[in-house]
Amino acid sequence: MIRLRRISKLYKLGSQEVHALRGVDLEIRDGEFLAIMGPSGSGKSTLMNIVGCLDRPTDGIYQLDGINVSRLGDAQLATVRNRRLGFVFQSFNLLPRLNAIDQVAMPLAYRGVSNRKQLARAALQLVGLGSRMHHQPTQLSGGQQQRVAIARAIVGHPTIILADEPTGALDTKTSHDVMEIFRKLNEERGITIAFVTHEHDVAAYTRRIVSLRDGEIVADEPNVPVYAGQPLPPVAHPAPEAAGQAPPRSFETQA
């Protein structure tokens, strides 16, 4: 459960002040699948970074699963990023010279999990990269790299996956492959998924579209999911209450 109250973000560029966000109120319930849209400069990436605990708001309150994240220190924020969230970037952000398994296992190392390779393999199989486990980023296509990044985001069994233009660097076919993975994670594992995009056919996968303009929410509407350009009959997806039952987290240690 994500709850943002009057979140604003102010950048100081020399003497100029830029309001990236102006008092955003947003609530994302467990199990939701939503897209955040808006023109460039609308503040959607800033919003996503704040939700992802990568950035701090200048003002406002951000509650994540009832925790007031704005008050957390560096180490606690790192723990939140490590255990509750998975973040997927437009530019993949994989480490150079590390094979897929090590990339995916990395977040678990910061958690002190011992059977990391095994869990990393499982995550890679889930995103369909079972045959590419020992490849380095330079040996993988864009779509494959993004799938490694998704595996890295889900390996710790987070309740929320956030993505900033996850398909921005991919072609249409691969974009749909990636969205299909997100859809499955949402529907089959009940993971909350929120991402920023400016592509309508990518946003069409979701059930809710939030539109931003000049740092403010200008629209927040439910969406009838359309998969890969094909309208599909509405799927019985878990109601918000039911989605509260998180998937089994076998290696979840103390918070």
Partner: protein, 431 residues
């Protein structure tokens, strides 16, 4: 993140930039190698000096003439000038029967290296520079230095001022080779130059055992004659009171513990003998005094050597810091990614500190090997001469490794701290 993981991460990072790692390491390798090599030379020198002082004999004490301000003019360069010790002094000490003294032997010396008057041993066409020691029969026992072939100077020789001599093993071999020198007539010459001096003919009566170098020069190069034999015949090495002066009284103690009381007793006697009110004109030096003086000189040398080594290490450390700072700014994005997936400040700090530590400790280990290698090289090619000893001590090996680790820590912490302070989103934005 567990320490093993941090360590493995550091290894991967260092391997991926192998040449840079190697060059950075080189600074530490050179620093530690110089610590090992220089301290080995220092320790070796110290050990060598200690051995030489022990080589004089054991439980020894030396009484010598002494002035704080050397007399000027001719007196300062002639053996007979300046303050003196006399046979009478030695006799007075012997007569006092000081408890703790085992035995004693006076000696005169002509031609110590560096002296104005040089001594030469001449046999047929050969002429070899030597140190001429006039002494008594007790010398053998006092200095623990015995004749190997023939006989030593006897009381009779001393009384008769006989023209007989005993050769050191080295000089005997140099002049006579395999031939038995006993009974041969040799010339003994003393003077400031080859053209100016005196020469007497002596008969060889014995050859000493091999002894090796001591703190008072190469003992195998000496020629021994009865105490008064040479002096009585040579005017210019006597002093105003005649020929009775001696250069040194060697005293053998029965027990090292008696050292202080014997010193006091001898000083008392000599002050009476010389009518001294203020400043002593003699000095009494025990073997341990000589040892501690020599060691303190060596300490100074060692401090100097270690300072040079530390400077080398600091230079290497600055190299480490420089490279680590470059590495941090190059890997800003990596730091951002690691933070985004849950690395804490401490994790990042550890990662970079361990990287620096790995570089310096591997460099330190290689430096130890290089230092030991350099020492082996120096030993093999006898750099510094056959007498120069090198001693690699476990202390300095341990110290070298510790110093390299400390260098890594000191010069790695600041770049690592900078890395750990990076804001995740700022770090991710940077290309």
């Amino acid at each position: 993140m567990s320490l093993i993981d941090v360590f493995l991460t550091a290894l991967v990072a260092l391997r991926s930039n192998f040449l840079r790692t190697l060059l950075t390491m080189l600074g530490i390798i050179i620093g530690i190698a110089s610590v090992i090599a220089l301290t080995a030379a220092g320790e070796g020198a110290q050990q060598g000096v200690a051995n030489r002082i022990r080589g004089l004999g054991s439980n020894l004490m030396f009484v010598r003439p002494y002035t704080a301000q050397p007399a000027g003019g001719l007196a300062s360069i002639l053996p007979g000038g300046g303050p003196s010790l006399f046979y009478e002094d030695a006799n007075a000490i012997a007569a006092a029967k000081i408890p703790g003294i085992d035995s004693m032997a006076s000696q005169t010396v002509v031609g110590m290296s560096g002296d104005f008057i040089q001594a030469k041993l001449i046999y047929r066409s050969q002429s070899v520079t030597t140190t001429l020691v006039g002494t008594e029969p007790s010398y053998q026992n006092v200095r623990d230095f015995y004749v190997a072939n023939g006989r030593f100077v006897s009381d009779d020789d001393v009384n008769k001022k006989a023209l007989v001599c005993v050769l050191g093993a080295g000089i005997a071999r140099e002049i006579f080779g395999d031939k038995d020198p006993i009974g041969e007539a040799v010339g003994i010459f003393a003077g400031p130059s080859a053209q100016f001096g005196v020469r007497f003919s002596f008969t060889v009566i014995g050859v000493m055992e091999e002894k090796g170098a001591s703190a008072q020069g190469n003992q195998d190069n000496q020629v021994f004659v009865p105490l008064p034999s040479f002096q009585a015949r040579v005017a210019f090495i006597r002093n105003a009171r005649g020929y009775t002066n001696v250069a040194q009284i060697n005293i053998k103690l029965a027990d090292q513990k008696a050292e202080d009381s014997v010193k006091l007793a001898i000083a008392d006697i000599l002050r009476k003998q010389h009518n001294i009110i203020n400043e002593d004109d003699f000095q009494i030096q025990s073997q341990s005094d000589v040892l501690s003086t020599a060691t303190s000189v060596d300490r100074t040398l060692q401090v100097l050597l270690v300072s040079i080594a530390i400077i080398a290490l600091v230079v290497g450390g600055i190299g480490i810091m420089n490279i680590m700072l470059v590495s941090v700014s190059e890997r800003t994005r990596e730091i951002g990614i690691r933070k985004a997936v849950g690395a804490k400040r401490l994790d990042i700090l550890m990662q970079f500190v361990i990287e620096a530590l790995v570089v310096t400790t591997i460099g330190g280990a290689l430096g130890v090997l290089a230092g030991v290698g350099a020492i082996q090289f120096a030993r093999y090619f006898e750099i510094g001469g056959t007498d120069t000893k090198y001693l690699v001590t476990p202390f300095w090996v341990g110290m070298g490794l510790a110093m390299s680790a400390v260098t890594g820590l000191v010069f790695g912490v600041y770049p690592a701290w900078r890395a750990s302070r990076l804001d995740p989103i700022e770090a991710l934005r940077r290309e």
